[in-house]
Symmetry: C2
């Protein structure tokens, strides 16, 4: 299927499942498996980088999703990533898709892990950007991370430059360029996420910080070939967590980008798209 | 310059510098900066993977080198990587090249680091596969690693399958495919490296294990953009060392491949070549 739409032009659509009306956008096209994007803390449909979404949409349909309760989706934001994963699965089922690739950024990476664990038949390949395993490492987290991420009703450029990018001139410039791209869409924009969503997502993060069984043992059950990416110094989710993910997920490649942080895929969109597209396109993964 | 030669056909040539006759081969061509290959423990000109060398030779000249004292080169193998780096620099100077890219595998990765530190103007970009910083981490090294790597006068397929690959079926099969490719060259083959070379290289490894100044502080002075790669579980040089290199070299991207070890670039030659070529070809690194 080829939609003819792009990041800025794709209309917001709705799909109903279990009483929730899921706001989403579909664009791009080609022969690749559809790629489902799972968004970061407090983020909605408008908070991706068009250079990433359109880049990956060149050879497959991409699907941006507001999970239950998030922005233009109805329902309540769950306070567990498990439940968010079940919601995402119900959304994919409602679209009638038997199998998707999944890209999860930040907390979207937790939802993506749970989705791969709970509905393995649904997830062909997995990309986890800037996140951690359950009970991951916290050393290296900026002490004011939560404060900055929650202090403004609408997170500002300054908040993003601090949380998603490095203090270096080059990374800050890349952050500003991302911010410009992120605002290119001017019609049919998504409403803000609510304080309720923020609180529920924070609660889910707290739950995710708790160990369940042997530490990292769940990762061994992820059967989907996985690409783990992050920036060299992520002050939100310390970068060593990406290393740990790739050490424990049975079939995972790790890529860490220089001079970057939590938003590395928005700092190196072209490089990331080329690596992700090769990973997704290969008939046998990692060839 | 385009040579018309490939891995199997390039004649062994000699370049003289400071009394040493350096055996080397040049092949491939194109507009890229020439890429110098620095070989692993006990390895010579014939011990690269043609899928890697020819793959990278598609858009640049590649230069395989036997460092001083190694196989068909004359002179003595030094017992310090510093000196090996000086020798490699003298060889590059003797070829009349003002600037090269450098790919160091295993101990070649130590020589590459020292070369980038001692002659920064000579090294445009750096690739370090399967190695560690000075005074790197040793936890995770197979206790019988040195024994297996030194026990046979001619290292066997079995030695390589154990040292360079994972025990998994897929990795072992990739190791056998590498071994087949490695033996495709049948004319003008390189003599074996000597026991003296082996002992000198072991001594260099012992010296490299010693801290010099603040741990890892030297890495901050590497100015060349760097690509660090390894397999997920390297039993010769534990994989965490690749993470440490990429954390401390100021402008470094890390790639770790799944289901693989010390010889990851020989297990995923096509994927590695695509990632390395993009890294080398980009006008600005990491774009």
């Amino acid at each position: 299927m080829t939609t003819g739409f792009s990041h800025v032009s794709a209309p917001t659509r709705y799909a109903e499942a279990n009483g929730v009306r899921y706001a989403h956008r579909r664009f791009g096209g080609g022969t690749g498996t559809p790629l489902l994007f799972l968004q970061h803390f407090r983020g909605g449909l408008d908070h991706w980088d068009p250079a990433v979404t359109d880049g990956l949409a060149a050879h497959r349909e991409v699907i941006l999703l507001n999970n239950a309760g998030v922005a233009s989706s109805t329902g309540e934001t769950p306070d567990m990533f498990d439940t968010m994963a079940d919601n995402a699965a119900q959304f994919v089922d409602a679209l009638g898709l038997a199998r998707v690739d999944v890209l999860g950024l930040s907390i979207g990476g937790a939802v993506a892990q749970e989705l791969a664990l709970r509905r393995p038949e649904l997830v062909r390949r997995l990309i986890i950007a800037g996140f951690k395993p359950r009970a991951g490492e916290v050393e290296g987290t900026a002490p004011d991370m939560i404060e900055v991420a929650t202090r403004n009703e609408v997170p500002t450029l300054g908040d993003f430059l601090y949380l998603f990018f490095e203090p270096s001139e080059t990374s800050q410039a890349a952050g500003r360029a991302f911010w410009e791209r992120r605002h290119r869409r001017t019609v049919d924009v998504d409403p803000l996420t609510t304080k309720e969503t923020m609180v529920a997502q924070l609660t889910a993060m707290e739950e995710w910080a708790q160990q369940r069984g042997e530490r990292y043992s769940e990762l061994a059950r992820i059967t989907a070939p996985t690409l783990v990416v992050n920036g060299r110094r992520d002050i939100m989710i310390p970068t060593i967590n990406s290393y740990i993910l790739a050490q424990h997920i049975p079939n995972a490649q790790l890529v860490l980008y220089p001079d970057s942080g939590h938003g590395s895929i928005f700092q190196y969109p072209d490089l990331f798209v080329s690596q992700a597209a090769r990973f997704l396109d290969a008939e046998h993964p990692f060839t």
